[in-house]
Amino acid sequence: MDRFEYSRDREATNAARARALEALLIEKGVITSETVDKIMAIFATEMGPFNGAKLVAKAWVDPAFKILLAQDTMAAVEQMNFATKGAGAEGEHMKAAVNTPEVHNLIICTLCSCYPWPILGLPPYWYKDPSFRARAAREPRKVLGEFGLDVDPGKEIKTWDSSAHIRWFVVPERPAGTDGFSEEQLAALVTPESMMGVAIVKPPGA
């Protein structure tokens, strides 16, 4: 069963209703004709996973920064010159969970879909899916297996449920075969999935 394939009637009605709502809100002076486009532009260029990838890449090449990122995440984020500086909606208090050879971290939100907007942008559908939210809490290894990630039984899994103010993300381990890579080359390897713990960062070309 594919939950993302609905009848075209249903999608057409949703699309028309969303457009009708936006048109009425513009006419009533609630928002402007530019508001939604400007918001989407911010998520395309200023608040997105491209920021998180830069953080991770810097942590991989700078051991002191990696320690700071783990111990005082917001102080590390402030050094990055992101548009949101050390703040941003849904990122006022972010915390990094750092993967090690002994520990794999997984971020979930069993109550809704809390996600660190300034550095990861908006949550992908898998993260918002009630099945993921329910199952990752109790059977993370099985869930990660469905993502194609088999975590060694000897490695501890830590699952972090975001139910208060902290917005969590994962610092994945640096993959092999990346010696001498620049931060920019490293950042290009980092996916949103790896920064929430349902994937690892694969070596280049893998």
Binding site: R19, L21, I31, K158, H165
Partner: protein
């Protein structure tokens, strides 16, 4: 008991969706943008007033209350942004910004022809939305009183009466965990949840649970579960309230 509060650990569900897109239909971006603009223009924020006619409070709590009030079968039946579209449309009608008749008529019109959106609006509105996204809405406050618990303390999760909205994951109710860290200062929540207990500034803790205590004999090994919990949801583990 509301199923929406008790998703953690629910059995019998489908294989995981591997859909990595944020939006699966173009209209979803529009309702996301409208919600974000509402949060940014909500009058309780300490941001400069604008000519926007939006003058009623809207936060994540309002969106979540709507989802938590749904019939649980509908909660699973509707896709993520369909719930947003329904809840936000209802809000604008209920608050009198638009009428249901106008919304239905415009929907019918857009279904038969894709006319352009109207033009207009004051740039100050969009400037405030940008300001909100860049600065956020920090819930951190000075501590009114010292925290009740310290790292290593055993705590039992409270089981307050189920009301319209909560930040207490249902699978943790009545379970015992250990304080793993105490976050600095205190944190408000977006609204007062009444007898549920959150809203005013209070300490927040990261609490560590053994999944074997949460789902005895029915979970995985070498696995630790952590949750961030407001102090109102915690009591000393020695309190045997139900005995």
């Amino acid at each position: 008991m509301k199923l929406q509060h008790y998703l953690g650990g629910l059995e019998g569900l489908d294989p995981i969706s591997l859909e990595t897109r944020v939006f699966v239909e173009p209209w979803e971006e529009r309702i996301f943008g409208i919600h974000t603009a509402m949060m940014a223009l909500s009058p309780q924020l300490d941001l400069e007033a604008t000519p926007s006619t939006f003058n009623t409070e809207w936060t994540w709590a309002d969106l979540r209350k709507g989802a938590e009030a749904m019939n649980p079968f509908d909660y699973f039946r509707f896709r993520y942004y369909e719930k947003w579209l329904g809840g936000i449309s209802e809000y604008f009608v209920a608050k009198g910004y638009i009428s249901q008749a106008d919304l239905d008529a415009r929907t019918a019109a857009f279904l038969s022809s894709s006319a352009a959106l109207p033009m207009g609006g004051d740039v100050a509105v969009d400037a405030r939305v940008r300001k909100y996204l860049m600065t956020g809405d920090d819930p951190r406050r000075e501590r009114p009183v010292p925290p009740l618990f310290a790292v290593g303390n055993a705590v039992r999760v409270a089981d307050p009466k189920s009301v319209g909205h909560t930040r207490l994951p249902g699978h943790l109710r009545n379970k015992v965990g250990l304080i793993d860290s105490v976050y600095p200062d205190a944190y408000t929540y977006l609204c007062d949840t009444g007898v549920d207990g959150v809203g005013r500034a209070m300490p927040v803790y990261c609490v560590k649970f053994d999944p074997e205590d949460l789902w005895p004999g029915n979970t995985e090994t070498n696995f630790t579960f952590y949750a961030d919990l407001f102090e109102a949801y915690l009591e000393p583990a020695a309190t045997l309230r139900n005995l």
